[in-house]
Every structure is written in structure tokens, then in C-alpha cells.
């Protein structure tokens, strides 16, 4: 009986180990590769043998990659700020105010968040050209709103619904207008939800590829994903795997750091956006 239990426990931990290794290994291998240059790059190494920072130096001193990081930070930051600003008041209305067509509106917002981006590509392309913002950060800030805004509205609405009704009624009796309720009563209570939602929207905007590829044309305007996808070496035939892996690690480490720090909140936010729907 005891041997049986031991066996079961070993099998369980083996499964755990497989899951962990499978999850982590590709990123680990990217790190190993990013420290290899020259011939070391073209030998399969399971363990890091050299620590050569030259790939990182090459990427960070290149003309365009630091610029791309800056672009991505700016665009993702603005998109999130914009989406949260619009979403806070809207989600208050959707969560707390009674009006006709509320259910339908919520369903529409949910539907928009599942839009295929490609379906609006042609129309957005025209709009962006018309506004004269093609190949500028504004083109991406505008177009990213299509997925960040419905998402933030939806998640914030589910969080806002969970705030106690009586606190809001106490504020009404105290003479608070809806605007005061949002800014002075609800926002201080909602900041954990705002951090979560903002972070998830930031990751979404940071990772976006289709719009970034289509609405930028010059190298200086590229965001990080486009820059990595289109990173080319000295010649057309040679793919610069070392610098690509270094660039990948550079843009991924902060993201992983944030995700691990906020992991509990992120899991809550993801499930609020998914399952509760």
C-alpha cells in the first residue's frame, strides 16, 4: 500500500516536472542562445557554456531597436491610459446605472472584443490615411483601441459590479454625483482592478503584430514585435539568430517580471474576462 502511494506520488511529481520543463525550456534555450556567438551558436548546447554579451551590445547599439522599444512603450502606455480613461466611466454606467438596452450593449462590447482584426484592416487603413497618421504612433494607438477598450470595459464592469451597492447609496445620501462617486469613492477601491486590467491591456498592445506591421512603413516607427520579426542580418540569406534571441530576451524579461509579480491579480483578471462572461 505504501509503495503504491510512493509510486503515485513519484508519477505525480514527474508530471509536474514535465509541465514545468515544457513551459520554461524554450525561453531558457533562448537565453542560452542569446549568450552565444560565432560557432558556439551553431552547436546545440543544453547548458550555457559562454557568457558573451556581444549579441546584446549589437542589438542595443543598433540604430533602430532601442527606438522600437521606445515606440512600443509609448504606444502601449498611451493605449492603456486612453482605454482605462474611457472604460472607467463606461463600466460604471454598465455596472451600476439602470437604463434600457444595457444587456444588449454589454453583449455588443463582448462581441467587438472577439472581432477578427483583419475585418477592420481595410477600413482602418482608409481612416488612418484620411487622418494623415499613417506611419505614426497615433495610427497604432487608434487601432489598438479596438481590442483594449472592449476588454477593459468588460473586465472593469465585472469588478465594478462586485462593489457593495450600499456604499454607493451612502455616497448618494451624502450628496455625491455619479462623477464624484466614481472619482472619490469607487476609484480608490478599484485600483487593484485597474492595475490588473491595465497590465493585461498593456501586454495585449505590446504584443500586437498585424496592425503594427500594416500601419508602419519606416524602420524607425516599428514596434518591438515588428522589429524582431523583420530583424535581418548582413545578408539576406543569413538569419541573425544571436541578436534575435537577445532582442527577444530583452523585451520578454520585463513582461515576465510583471506577470510573475502580479500573477494572482492577472489570473483573476483573465478569468473575469473569460469565464464570467
Amino acid at each position: 500500500m505504501q509503495a503504491n502511494a510512493l509510486l503515485k506520488s513519484i508519477a505525480f511529481y514527474a508530471l509536474v516536472a514535465v509541465i514545468v520543463v515544457f513551459s520554461v525550456f524554450p525561453f531558457y534555450y533562448a537565453i542560452v542562445t542569446s549568450f552565444s556567438t560565432g560557432t558556439a551558436l551553431f552547436q546545440v548546447n543544453y547548458w550555457p557554456k559562454v557568457f558573451d554579451w556581444s549579441n546584446y551590445q549589437a542589438v542595443l547599439s543598433s540604430r533602430n531597436f532601442p527606438r522600437s522599444i521606445l515606440n512600443s512603450v509609448l504606444i502601449a502606455g498611451c493605449t492603456v491610459g486612453f482605454a482605462l480613461f474611457l472604460a472607467v466611466t463606461a463600466s460604471y454606467a454598465l455596472a451600476r446605472l439602470r437604463f434600457r438596452g444595457r444587456g444588449l450593449l454589454l453583449l455588443t462590447i463582448l462581441a467587438v472584443s472577439m472581432f477578427p482584426q483583419i475585418a477592420v484592416l481595410a477600413g482602418l487603413f482608409e481612416l488612418i490615411r484620411f487622418l494623415g497618421i499613417f506611419n505614426t504612433p497615433w495610427a497604432l494607438i487608434l487601432s489598438y483601441t479596438i481590442f483594449t477598450l472592449p476588454f477593459t470595459v468588460w473586465v472593469l464592469t465585472t469588478f465594478m459590479r462586485d462593489l457593495p451597492v450600499e456604499i454607493e447609496e451612502a455616497a448618494i445620501v451624502d450628496g455625491a454625483t455619479p462623477w464624484v462617486i466614481i472619482t472619490r469613492v469607487f476609484l480608490p477601491l478599484l485600483w487593484p482592478a485597474l492595475v490588473t486590467t491595465g497590465l493585461l491591456a498593456f501586454i495585449g498592445a505590446w504584443n500586437e503584430f498585424l496592425f503594427a506591421l500594416t500601419f508602419t512603413s519606416s524602420e524607425t516607427m516599428r514596434t518591438v514585435p515588428v522589429a524582431i520579426a523583420l530583424l535581418s542580418g548582413a545578408s539576406q540569406q543569413e538569419i541573425p539568430w544571436g541578436p534575435i534571441m537577445a532582442a527577444s530576451v530583452i523585451v520578454t524579461v520585463p513582461l515576465i517580471g510583471l506577470v510573475l509579480i502580479f500573477q494572482r491579480k492577472i489570473v483573476a483578471g483573465l478569468t473575469a474576462g473569460g469565464v464570467k462572461g
Binding site: 505525480f12 511529481y13 508530471l15 509536474v16 509541465i19 514545468v20 515544457f22 513551459s23 520554461v24 524554450p26 525561453f27 542562445t33 551558436l41 546545440v44 543544453y46 474611457l86 466611466t89 460604471y92 454606467a93 446605472l97 439602470r98 437604463f99 463582448l110 467587438v112 472577439m114 472581432f115 477578427p116 482584426q117 483583419i118 477592420v120 484592416l121 481595410a122 477600413g123 482602418l124 482608409e126 481612416l127 490615411r129 487601432s143 483601441t145 479596438i146 477598450l149 455619479p178 503584430f209 498585424l210 506591421l213 514585435p225 515588428v226 524582431i228 520579426a229 539568430w241 534571441m245 527577444s248 520578454t252 500573477q263 489570473v267 483573465l270 478569468t271 473569460g274 469565464v275 462572461g277
Partner: protein, 319 residues
């Protein structure tokens, strides 16, 4: 139902004020969504009925359904069909997309269930597992595509090395370039990247199952496998269904992974990829718009299904 207006104190009542506030609170969001979603969508659909090109967006002529299907009778009396609906490249992309969606979601569901069940157990190092499985989710898709592209590299890739050492393959495989294996490569990366998301959604469902149900089953001596199929699975089915449809919708619009991992491979080209290719790269703007309109129509059907199922789920929660 009538409130006499005579002598009414001051202005609108609380509920009326709140309704007015609701309007002003929603207006900016609705305007923003109209500008970035509704209007571009309508324009895309409109373009799909014209002969617009990238360089000539505004002087486009209305050509009706020609981008979708055009029946032309030649002088020789032969009828020729043209348009997306008879374009073999389009149907290839449809088939690729459907195949990709079904296979990837099926694997993600099974693996996601396994991971979720593991994480639902009490054991040491659970936090570590959760942190580990969040990593693939946090990595940008483009980065995953590049990372796996390197690992699946035919000459220097570690996957070929491992498989050769284990004796599973006898010669190196060009995973991403090869017509037969390109789809497998895309599937591997997508499953790796998205299983965590699936697992977290399923785990949320699992955690809503009261623990005493398992206790009761254990006391009754029911076999764990039986408990899973008879108790756990039925209870998490609503959450599971919603997660699956959520993922199918996501899979149907896949673009970035395919575009970067297997560029220009007919074996993996999906609906999104082929639409954009026609629109931007081949200067067949209107033709691409027609294809993206078709993709939208397909996804709209699935969204309706999702909302319908979501409702069923909601009412189930209340009862």
C-alpha cells in the same frame, strides 16, 4: 403611472439624473468604438464590393459581388467563374484555418485540463508551477515564433538534435519549411503558448466545485477516474464550453504566428494571412477586403454561438 408635475420640487429625480449620467458616461466609449470598430468594418464590407486598390482608394467603382463570385460568358460560349469563392488559394486558407483551429483547441483543451487538474491538487511547489505556466502566456507571440523557429531550425535546431539522439528520427527535418511538417510546427507553438490560458480558465471552473463533493466521493470509495468523468467534468462543463469557444474564435483569426514562423507556406496560410497578403502585398485591396468580410461572417456565427451559450451558462449560475 402619472406623476403630477405641479409643484414638483427641483428638476429631475435621482433615477432620471442617473440615466442622464449613464448617457454621458457611455458616449465617449461608444464614439471611440464606433470609430475604430463599426465604421472600419462597414468600410471594409463596402470596399469588398468595389474595385479599390491600395493606390486608388477613393475612385473605386462599385462592382457588386464580382470579388466574391463573377460569372462571365466568353465569346466562345464558355462560362468562366472568378472571385474568392472559386479561388483554390482561398479554400486552401479556409481549410488550413479550420484544421488549425480544431486541432489546436482540441489539444489545448486536453492539456489544459491536465494542467488545471494538477494545479487544483494540494502539493508543494504549486506556486512554482503556476509561475512556470504563466511564462509561455506572457511571451509575445512573435518572440515565441522566433524562439521556436530557432529550436525547430533544420540544421542547428535543438529539437532535431533531441529527436536524433533519442532515435525517433533518422535525419534532420526542416520543420517550418517542409510542406508536410509546417502545420505541425505551427500547432506545436500555438499549443505551447495557449495551453496556460486554457488551464487557468479551467482551473477557475474547477475551484468553483465544492471540495466536500470530492470528500464525499472518497468516503464512498469511488474511483478517482470515475469521479472525474461523473462528477468533475459535468460540473465544469459550462466553464469549459465557454473557454473552448473563446479559444476557437481566437484561433480562427490567427495571423502573427503563421506569418512569422512559416512565411509564405501554402500549407499553413490562414484566412487572415491570405486576406492581408491580397490587400497590402498584392495590391488587390478590394479582393482582400472581400476575403476578410467572409472571415468576419464566419466568426460572427461563432460569436452568436458563444453569446447564446454564455446566456445558458449565466442562467445556470442563477438557479
Amino acid at each position: 403611472m402619472t406623476t403630477p408635475s405641479l409643484g414638483r420640487a427641483a428638476g429631475p429625480s435621482l433615477q432620471q439624473r442617473r440615466q442622464k449620467a449613464a448617457f454621458w458616461f457611455l458616449a465617449p466609449m461608444l464614439i471611440a468604438l464606433f470609430c475604430v470598430a463599426a465604421w472600419p468594418l462597414l468600410r471594409t464590407i463596402w470596399f469588398s464590393f468595389t474595385d479599390a486598390t491600395l493606390s486608388n482608394l477613393y475612385d473605386a467603382k462599385w462592382i457588386g459581388f464580382d470579388n466574391y463570385l463573377q460569372v462571365r460568358t466568353l465569346s466562345s460560349g464558355r462560362t468562366v467563374l472568378r472571385g474568392t469563392l472559386v479561388d483554390p488559394a482561398w479554400w486552401n486558407a479556409v481549410w488550413n484555418t479550420v484544421r488549425f483551429s480544431l486541432v489546436s483547441v482540441a489539444f489545448e483543451t486536453v492539456f489544459g485540463l491536465i494542467v488545471a487538474l494538477v494545479m487544483n491538487a494540494q502539493f508543494r511547489g504549486r506556486a512554482l508551477v503556476r509561475a512556470a505556466i504563466l511564462i509561455p502566456w506572457a511571451i509575445p507571440t512573435i518572440v515565441s515564433a522566433k524562439m521556436w523557429g530557432w529550436m525547430l531550425n533544420d540544421q542547428f535546431g535543438i529539437i532535431n538534435d533531441i529527436l536524433l539522439n533519442l532515435g525517433i528520427i533518422s535525419q534532420k527535418i526542416a520543420w517550418t519549411a517542409n510542406i508536410e511538417t509546417a502545420m505541425t510546427a505551427v500547432l506545436i507553438v500555438d499549443i505551447w503558448k495557449t495551453t496556460p490560458f486554457m488551464a487557468l480558465l479551467i482551473l477557475a471552473g474547477l475551484q468553483m466545485v465544492p471540495r466536500d463533493i470530492y470528500e464525499a466521493a472518497r468516503i464512498d470509495g469511488v474511483h478517482p477516474v470515475k469521479v472525474f468523468f461523473r462528477v468533475t467534468l459535468p460540473l465544469i462543463k459550462p466553464a469549459l464550453m465557454v473557454a473552448v469557444i473563446f479559444r476557437i474564435l481566437d484561433a480562427l483569426r490567427i495571423f502573427d504566428l503563421v506569418y512569422v514562423l512559416t512565411p509564405n507556406s501554402a500549407a499553413t496560410k490562414t484566412m487572415s494571412v491570405i486576406s492581408r497578403e491580397n490587400m497590402i502585398d498584392f495590391d488587390k485591396f478590394a479582393y482582400g477586403a472581400a476575403q476578410s468580410t467572409l472571415l468576419f461572417a464566419i466568426i460572427a456565427v461563432f460569436v452568436s454561438l458563444y453569446i447564446w451559450l454564455g446566456r445558458v451558462d449565466l442562467s445556470g449560475d442563477r438557479s
